[in-house]
């Protein structure tokens, strides 16, 4: 009886030649189907996850950094902030940071030209943030998101940069339930009130970002904020930092906790700072993506099944001849499995090439403009490898079943086509 090795050898001999001399158009068609099946499997779920992940990345880049310290519940600020700041400023693994001073306030515009005092004033409530413009811009590149006017200049005083969501022309889509300022442009004068203290500021620019904490705040320089809010203790409300690649977010967080800073601040990594609902949406999208991908796999495997089945049926006579001249059924099955594997591997490789050579760079360069995030394509290599393996296993099964069905037929019936 033929050994396993002989059967595999003959199977590979037959399979490679069947592939090499197959109709090119048919091969291209099948490989294309497998490529699209692979892309469907990876890209659909990758975009769904990337929709949330894009938001998370923006949140990290523009707001939380790698680690963020925020005010403890029941406190008005982070006590001993200056110790915290001086510690991270000395840490060689911290690349940049920003300390932010926050207070609730109101902003009123067009009060000089207001004539009808029976109607509501052109005012909006919001969070006012005091920042070091240079430090914040180095940390979050906030100036890139200034869509009108300019960002704050550290040498100037009396200017404000307003988040776009506080202005009606940017936030009309939110509906009427939200107050917003009308007719405010760079150069407009607005009144900002914090804790009953009011001062006029000139609008220097409008900042627009999909990160809520950026587009819903009004930014003042730190001296202007401290003067207006009367914050003489210099305690910040948020201290966000980035570190270099030699340390993880969690290690940096643990280092800060080891320094005792968690007694005065809630210290979170960027991932921990993501709101729960976003994590849940990401999980839901991931499940949805996998579901759509699974449908793609079923379609792909049915395609392979049909292709191999038709191939085996039309070659039934030759399968019979092979069996007749003594070629083992296993060798014939190996030849069909090789073909299925070829289609699966070719589709996956071509798909990976398109994915990493074209789609991921394209999505990185031109993210999808979703209302709440810039959607990217998330396709991490380990997950992609798992999906390739799944696709290959399914492809092999889809190729094996029809080949087995045909091979089980009576040899003579196959030869005579009965």
């Amino acid at each position: 009886m033929a050994s396993l090795g002989q059967s595999i050898k003959v199977g590979l001999f037959l399979g490679t030649r069947q592939l090499r001399r197959a109709n090119r158009s048919t091969t291209i068609l099948i490989v294309s189907i497998m490529t699209f099946t692979f892309l469907n499997l990876v890209v659909v779920s990758g975009i769904l996850i990337g929709l949330i992940e894009g938001g998370n990345i923006a949140n990290r880049n523009q707001y939380t950094g790698d680690v963020i310290a925020t005010t403890l519940s029941g406190k008005t600020a982070i006590d001993h902030s200056q110790d915290f700041i001086s510690t991270i400023a000395r840490d060689p693994q911290v690349t940049d940071f920003s300390a932010r001073y926050l207070a609730g306030g109101s902003i009123e515009a067009n009060y000089r030209t207001r004539t009808d005092f029976s109607s509501k004033a052109n005012t909006v409530g919001g969070q006012v943030a005091g920042i070091d413009p240079v430090q914040e811009d180095e940390f979050s590149s906030i100036s890139k998101y200034v869509v009108e006017g300019k960002f704050l200049d550290p040498t100037e005083s009396g200017y404000v940069v307003i988040g776009s969501n506080l202005l009606d022309r940017y936030s009309s889509s939110f509906g009427d339930g939200f107050d917003s300022l009308k007719n405010v442009y760079p150069g407009s004068t607005v009144k900002i009130t914090i804790n009953g203290s009011t001062r006029e500021f000139i609008v220097k620019g409008i900042v627009k970002s999909k990160v809520g904490e950026v587009s819903i705040r009004a930014f003042l320089s730190k001296p202007d904020f401290i003067q207006l809010a009367g914050r003489s203790d210099l305690n910040a409300n948020e201290i966000a930092l980035n570190h270099d690649a030699t340390i993880t977010d969690n290690q940096m967080k643990q280092r800060l906790i080891a320094n005792g800073f968690n007694a005065n601040a809630k210290i979170q990594t960027a991932s921990e700072a993501i709101p729960d609902f976003l994590t849940q949406i990401k999980t839901a999208f991931s499940v949805l993506g996998n579901l759509i991908g699974a449908i793609g796999i079923v379609v792909g495997s049915i395609t392979i099944f049909i292709v191999v089945f038709i191939n085996a049926v039309t070659r039934q006579k030759f399968i019979g001849i092979l069996k007749g001249i003594g070629v083992s059924p296993l060798a014939i099955q190996v030849s069909y499995l090789l073909q299925s594997l070829f289609y699966g591997i070719s589709g996956s490789l071509l798909g990976s090439l398109i994915l990493y050579g074209l789609l991921v760079p394209a999505f990185d360069a031109h993210p999808i403009d979703f209302p709440f995030s810039d959607g990217i394509l998330v396709a991490d290599v380990p997950t992609t490898i798992v999906r390739i393996v799944v696709l290959l296993i399914v492809t092999l099964i889809a190729g094996y079943i029809p080949a087995r069905m045909i091979i089980k037929k009576n040899t003579l019936d196959s030869i005579l086509g009965r």
Binding site: F13, K323, G324, I325, G326, S328, I415
Partner: protein, 220 residues
Amino acid sequence: MITAKNITKTFKNGAVETHVLKGVDITINEGEFVAIMGKSGAGKSTLLYQLGLLDHPTSGEIMIDSIHVTSMSANDRTSFRLNELGYIFQDYALLPELTAIENVIVPLLMQGKTELEAKAIARASLDRIGLVHKEDNLPSQLSGGEQQRVSIARAVAHNPKILFADEPTANLDSGSSEAVLDIFKELHRQGQTIVMVTHEKEYTLFCDRVITIADGKAFE
């Protein structure tokens, strides 16, 4: 070499039973060139398939070299066909995606020979039938006669004990038929046992014996 006792073959199609072979007893000795003749539908090819282990008789016993081949498992029959028997079919039965030499190589590889060894044997076999110069041609690039000669090369490359040929000249012109028969004559001269089904009476002139199938029985 081949002893067939009381071979019957019945085909069932629903409730309809067709008794093609009704108790065939034949013996074929080593080195004989035996022709099986008979009218269309008489059961010539059916008998050949039973003797060549391509089909199972409904009843009866076949022994080849004193081995009870009718009771063999499917795998053992495949292995027996591979090592001991050779086949030539009416329509050549070459694999269309394999070249002439590759068609000859397949059973040799299955026997466990290396590709190099198989290639050398296949080339020698093609040389015997005068087609070594077309070893890289696909079947579609060969004439009918050439395809049948490649089929013969494949059937004899592994030196089978018995060569079964099912109407090997049925699809060939007279020139090609003669060429094929010349090869058979040469193989027979070298001691090859050949069992050939044919319609053509003149081709039986080279045979040692003629077995005629009629009414499901074998006659000499």
